[in-house]
């Protein structure tokens, strides 16, 4: 199984059908589309998208399959995961892409939450991979984001070939296990794909699929068109983007492994280096050590034991183990002592412990902390109450049919 950087490059350049053709001429081989999403929160969204890719392909008499893989198997809240749609002109071509977990090359990767754009570790044992690790030569990475190209390219790794970055403005559309947040995001993403990659499907094809569906009214067509018209594309050259520091993980052979399903653990009080978190975090807590009343609620309630205890009985955070669940901020009794901030504001800091800065230079620490909060403070309702139908005009949310009662969209 290809797990590293070689993935995405199994088609030699001289055989690559992207080269020298306009995208709509390239139809003779299978096309693969990935949707990278936040486990559970965006599962139904990703499933809707995959389904529509296949159904749009049917309008061209192509066949298709969708593949879902629970990354942290089973899929868990917030854990990055991937679903795929593969379309092909005939059964035999499609068969070559089935009974697999993921395609080798992706024509399009859609990242449904920009906090994953710096890479994800969805396959659990392979480490944190670049978001575009399997993006093929000339492929398109579509990111839902309100951040400009330059900012995204600070975290999206470079490729050794040219590719396209497509940005569709918006905040991540997040829902839950039993509900689907029907805010038009699926339609906007489909419209954006039709706009940037008509070789996958044309606007007329996806529009026909939506019109066939009695549950989807004119609002959905409007959402399609909005995605189609608003998506911004940028041609990215080989070598442009963040450094690609990903090292494929070497897994041991069976003779090297301990027998009887035994793995090393750690002594009481130590932290297990194998259980570090990274790409499941969308936001992180920042602490005001001056207003902390040392009640220890954060230390008690943190499910991942991220909070240390200093001699002064303060609680610095070990971000290497923080999933960004926000429980600490909720249980903290002091207003604004623990504030959740969008994790993309910490590209430079990484998981660095900022407590020493507070110890050495309180003024700088507060300047740093206030800056982060001002730019990236996360309010719960930012994600869960925002009316993202707003892009299509006011009052859309009230007028759209309720698609939450359809488990087909939730399963």
């Amino acid at each position: 199984m290809t797990t590293g950087r070689e993935a995405g490059d199994t088609i030699p350049a001289d055989q690559d059908t992207q080269q020298g053709h306009t995208s709509t001429e390239v139809r003779e081989e299978a096309k693969s589309v990935e949707f990278t999403y936040r486990g559970i929160f965006q599962k139904t969204l990703a499933a809707n998208l995959c389904k529509h890719v296949v159904m749009a392909a049917r309008k061209r008499e192509w066949l298709g399959t969708t593949i879902q893989r629970y990354s942290d198997s089973p899929e868990r809240n917030g854990i990055p995961a991937k679903q795929f749609a593969v379309i092909a002109p005939d059964t035999e071509t499609l068969e070559g892409h089935m009974a697999k977990y993921e395609p080798n090359e992706l024509d399009v990767i859609s990242c449904l939450d920009d906090t994953m754009a710096d890479g994800i570790e969805s396959w659990a044992w392979y480490g944190r991979q670049p978001i575009n690790v399997r993006l093929r030569r000339g492929g398109t990475l579509l990111v839902i984001s309100n951040r400009p190209k330059e900012e995204l390219l600070r975290i999206i790794p470079q490729k050794p070939w040219d590719w396209t970055l497509a940005i569709l403005s918006g905040t991540p559309s997040l829902a839950g296990l039993w509900v689907y947040r029907d805010d038009g995001t699926d339609m906007r993403v489909l419209g954006a794909i039709a706009s940037t990659r008509p070789d996958i499907f044309e606007m007329s094809e996806i529009e026909a699929v939506v019109r066939d569906d009695d549950a989807l009214g004119d609002d959905y067509i409007a959402a399609l068109k909005s995605g189609h018209d608003e998506v911004q594309t940028h041609e990215i050259s080989a070598g442009e983007g963040a450094p690609d520091t990903y090292e494929p993980v070497k897994l041991p052979g069976y003779k090297e492994m301990r027998e009887a399903i035994i793995v090393p653990a750690v002594k009481v009080g130590e932290k297990n280096p194998n259980y570090r978190t990274s790409s499941d975090r969308t936001m992180r807590p920042v602490v005001n050590f001056d207003t902390c009343i040392k009640c220890r609620q954060c230390w008690i309630d943190c499910p991942d034991e991220c909070f240390d205890i200093t001699d002064e009985e303060l609680h610095p955070i070990n971000y290497s183990y923080c999933t960004g669940c926000g429980i600490c901020a909720q249980v903290c009794p002091v207003e604004d002592c623990i504030v959740m901030v969008n994790d993309l504001e910490f590209v430079e800091e990484g998981d660095k412990d900022m407590f020493p800065l507070w110890q050495n230079d309180k003024e700088s620490y507060h300047e740093w902390r206030d800056g982060k909060i001002e730019k990236g403070r996360i309010q719960h309702h930012d994600y869960f109450n925002a009316d993202t139908w707003a892009w299509a005009g006011s009052g859309q949310a009230e007028n759209t049919p309720d698609r939450n009662d359809s488990t087909a969209r939730n399963s």
Binding site: M1, C50, G96
Partner: protein, 407 residues
């Protein structure tokens, strides 16, 4: 649903995009199942969600009983079957094993419970990928077992299971092996017939004078001793002898009514005409195998593939007839059987036993791979086909080899 394209007015079937588990649920709907019991475990749980949805939407009128564990889940369906309800149940991996006490007695009680087994590795280690050892654990007990290749076969096999299992000559539980993830969690477009067609194929469930009902006073499974058990086992054995004929009948009707199903109900031959050697296996591994067989044919290799569909009853006579014309057979087992003859897989040893009395015996070698959900790739199939080719040419090759394991 969005996708309701008429596949042809003559056959009254619609096309839908579905996962394997959703396809099973559609068959459950059209079989008009009366009782189902559920307890979640991946990858089976997709089907319990899909059936729940059908009931919630009013598309299926059935009792849906959420059990507190698989043991109760399978007991509930076993008992419901005894009182005349058509039942559907299923599980995966260790969930299926937790139900084993119930599973072990269901064939003796001759209750046609239909179960979908979403094949999954037996924890530990905690894992979710496909391995066939879970379903294979009942291979000696009277469960009839088949394996499917894709979502369409999920649907078809479920209808076949009710038809064959409920036939009074058979009256056995049937397990449908569905490879976890590769079939349970991937969607393809399948054809679904209308109710009228299904009713033509599948008669109502009728236990006759074995129905547990106050108007038909009987008591099921009293305690017995050595004076009785052997005769009971022989009755079950006689029934096991009858299953193949019933499968043939059902298969012929299935083909006539729905227009698909292949030449023979027990296995599929793929590019075997004029082949010198073949690969042999069950389930979704057929897909990478077929891809590689086509490529090898392009290179002039006389290779084919035989996919076993029914593992119980094991089609020994039918396989002897077709397999003895090959020089070598490479059996791909997605299972293990520690300490077995030759340290080989389950399918390997059953096939060897089946062909032992043939006048001309092909060389049979074994590959064990794809365990715990590891992908079996066309490249691995190339490797296996090459070893089988060398065996066919009389070269000395290992009888059993593990494929794709890190040394």
């Amino acid at each position: 649903m969005t996708m309701e394209k008429q596949a042809g007015s003559a056959d009254n079937q619609v096309e839908k995009l579905m996962t394997g588990t959703q396809a099973v649920a559609q068959a459950v709907r059209l079989a008009d199942v009366d009782v189902t019991s559920a307890y979640p475990i991946r990858p089976y749980d997709g089907v319990m969600q899909a059936v729940a949805k059908l009931i919630a939407d009013g598309d299926l009128d059935a009792e849906y009983i959420v059990a507190e564990g698989e043991h109760s889940q399978f007991e509930i369906c076993k008992h419901a079957s005894a009182v005349g309800s058509r039942v559907f149940v299923g599980s995966s991996g260790v969930g299926w094993m937790y139900a084993m006490e119930s599973n072990a007695v269901t064939p003796s009680l001759r209750l046609p419970v239909v179960a979908m087994i979403g094949n999954r590795a037996l924890d530990d280690p905690g894992a979710f990928g496909v391995e066939h050892n879970d379903a294979l654990c009942v291979r000696d007990l009277g469960w009839q077992l088949n394996w499917v290749e894709n979502a369409q076969e999920c649907f078809d096999a479920t209808l076949m299971a009710y038809r064959v299992g409920e036939d009074p000559r058979v009256s056995f539980p049937i397990g449908i092996g569905v490879d976890g993830a590769f079939i349970t969690h991937s969607q393809t477009i399948i054809k679904i017939p209308d109710q009228e067609l299904v009713d033509e194929f599948l008669p109502p469930y009728d236990l006759g004078n074995r129905l547990l009902h106050p108007d038909n006073p009987i008591s099921i499974a009293p305690q017995a001793n050595e004076d009785w058990v052997m005769e009971i086992r022989k009755q079950t054995d006689d029934a096991a002898h009858r299953v193949k004929d019933v499968i043939w009948e059902a298969h012929n009707d299935f083909k006539r009514i729905f227009g698909r199903g292949g030449d023979n109900p027990f296995f599929e031959e793929y590019m075997t005409e004029d082949a010198d050697y073949v690969l042999f296996g069950m389930g979704s591994l057929a897909l990478p195998t077929k891809v590689m067989v086509r490529r090898l044919r392009d290179r002039g290799e006389k290779v084919g593939f035989v996919r076993l569909k029914w593992f119980r009853p094991f089609p020994d006579e039918e396989l002897t007839e077709i397999l003895t014309r090959f020089k070598a057979i490479g059996v791909v087992d997605r299972d293990y059987s520690y300490g077995s003859p030759g340290q080989g897989g389950v399918v390997f040893n059953d096939l060897r036993a089946a062909l032992y009395n043939a006048e001309v015996r092909p060389k049979i070698i074994n590959f064990i791979g794809g365990l715990g959900g590891r992908e079996l790739t066309p490249e691995m199939m190339d490797d296996m086909a090459d070893t089988t080719r060398r065996a066919a040419a009389g070269e000395d090759v290992p009888m059993v080899r593990w494929i794709g394991v890190r040394e």
